[in-house]
Every structure is written in C-alpha cells, then in structure tokens.
C-alpha cells in the first residue's frame, strides 16, 4: 500500500470510528451500530438529512430513516415527540450535532474537518455522485433503525 493510500485509509478509519462514537454520544438511547458495509450503487431514501464534509476529507454524511424514527430520537433528547416543521428542523440539527461531534472527535487525531449547514430531504430521494460510500445501520431497538452513510469524494 502506498504512503498516500495508507494515510487515506487511516483517515477513513478515524472518520468511521469517530462517526460511531459521535452517534453514541449524541443519541441518548439504547442502540447498537452494526458493522459498516460498502454501498455500491446510489443511496435511496424517503426522509433524511445531508451534511457536507470539507477539509482533510471531502464528502457527505447522510442520516436516513422513517420520520417516526427521527421523532423518537427527538423525544429521547428533548422529552417531546416532534412532527411537521419542527421535526424537519430537529432532523437537520441532529445531523449537525453528529457531524460536529465527529469533527471534534477526529480533530484529536490531527484530522481537520469542517461541516456545512444541513440539507433536509423529504420524499423519495436518490443520492448519487460519490466515489466511495460506507453504510452503517443504527439499531434503535423497538424504535426502529437509522441508516448512516459516509459518502466520500476521494
């Protein structure tokens, strides 16, 4: 493996581990994060949030789940079930908090990341145009599952 590839591999490994740590830190629910897998084709979702990642790694973080799952996460964090505009706004903020915490966690490994403001996706959406993608399923037990995808540009 060349030095550059090794460095990139290490960075992606830290990004992946940082993502898992961030999810566990931000979401105060009993949850398991399943083994990551490669996403070979496009990403299809019905409700989700996309955060751009810039800096030492370029890509996007996408959280997707049934809107009821986002509502349950909101209830676990703030004590109230959410719907409508407030649910969309919370979902964006959840993405912001998870991405922001990833950035803070992997900064300790000297990897500098910045994030963009969230984009909320509602309705059937296909996300394409990435060179590599890793997908993890977060098992929120009786509340359902949330898919977390890291779409990498390089």
């Amino acid at each position: 493996m060349s030095a550059v590839t090794q460095e990139n591999f290490e960075s992606v490994k830290y990004l992946l581990n940082g993502t898992i740590s961030s999810i566990k830190k931000v979401i105060p629910m009993d949850l398991d994060v399943n083994q990551p897998s490669r996403l070979e084709n496009h990403l299809q979702l019905e409700f989700g949030v996309l955060i751009g990642i810039t800096g030492d790694l370029q890509g996007r973080l996408v959280l997707s789940a049934n809107s009821q799952v986002f509502s349950s996460v909101g209830e676990s964090m703030y004590g109230i079930p959410l719907e409508g505009e407030m649910l969309s706004s919370f979902s964006g903020e959840l993405g912001n908090m998870i991405a922001g915490n990833i950035s803070s966690i992997i900064h300790e490994e000297d990897i500098n990341l910045d994030i963009t403001a969230p984009t909320i996706m509602e309705g059937s959406t296909k996300v394409k145009g990435f060179s590599k993608a890793l997908q993890m399923q977060v098992d929120l037990k009786d509340k359902g599952n949330m898919d977390v995808c890291l779409l990498l540009d390089q």
Partner: protein, 118 residues
C-alpha cells in the same frame, strides 16, 4: 432579567434555547437564522447577550461575531455549536466570546454559561 438574541439556523434549536431562557426569567427579544440577520438584529435590538451558532448559511457565527465585536467591543456573545474542537473554542474566545456551549447541551449547561456572563 436579560434581553437575549438567539442565533441558530435551526428553528427547533431556537425554540429550545428560548424555552430555557424564559424559564430562567430572561426575555428573548429576537431570533436570527444566520450571521447576517444576527448583525442586523443586534444593531436594531441592542440585546444584553447573544447566543451564536457557528455553522449557518449566508454568514457563519464566527464571522458575525467578529463583525459585532468590531462595532460593539463590549458585546456579550456566547457561542453555541456542535463544532467543539479546541481550535474553534480558542478562536471564539480570542475574538471575544464569553463562553462556548457544545451541542447537544443540557439546560443546566446553558444556565451556567448565561449566569456567569450576565
């Protein structure tokens, strides 16, 4: 009782902060959804304190805070962001922010920060 301007691009987060401040007995005199709006509302409302998110569209919270501090060096700004890495906290403190709250936060953490500043 302090007059507070809340800045965050997420309506949900503005609502959460407003609720915490009102329970503390403070008045939220304005809300801004980006840095540019925060500067305009600061000039218009002259609040006692501003909470400032960092990652926002149009203009981010660091740029907005610099702009506010340029004209109002005594402005009391508390950053409130999901981006909590040390370098960002140092940058915020250097530009004059009084505290840095990392999201997700508890009402107690917000109360502690605000009580120290006001």
């Amino acid at each position: 009782m302090a007059r507070i301007l809340v800045t965050d691009d997420a309506a949900f987060m503005r609502l959460q902060l407003k609720d915490i401040f009102e329970k503390m007995g403070h008045e939220v005199v304005g809300e801004a959804a980006d840095g540019k709006e925060a500067i305009e509302k600061f000039e218009e409302l002259q609040p006692d304190l501003v909470t400032m998110d960092i990652t926002m569209p149009e203009m981010d919270g660091v740029e907005a805070s610099k702009e506010i501090m340029k004209n109002h060096p005594d402005a009391k700004i508390v950053m409130c962001s999901a981006m909590g890495q040390q370098a960002m906290v140092i940058e915020a403190v250097e530009l004059g922010a009084k505290d840095f709250i990392v999201k997700p936060f508890t009402p107690e953490r917000v109360e502690e920060a605000i009580s120290r500043v006001i």
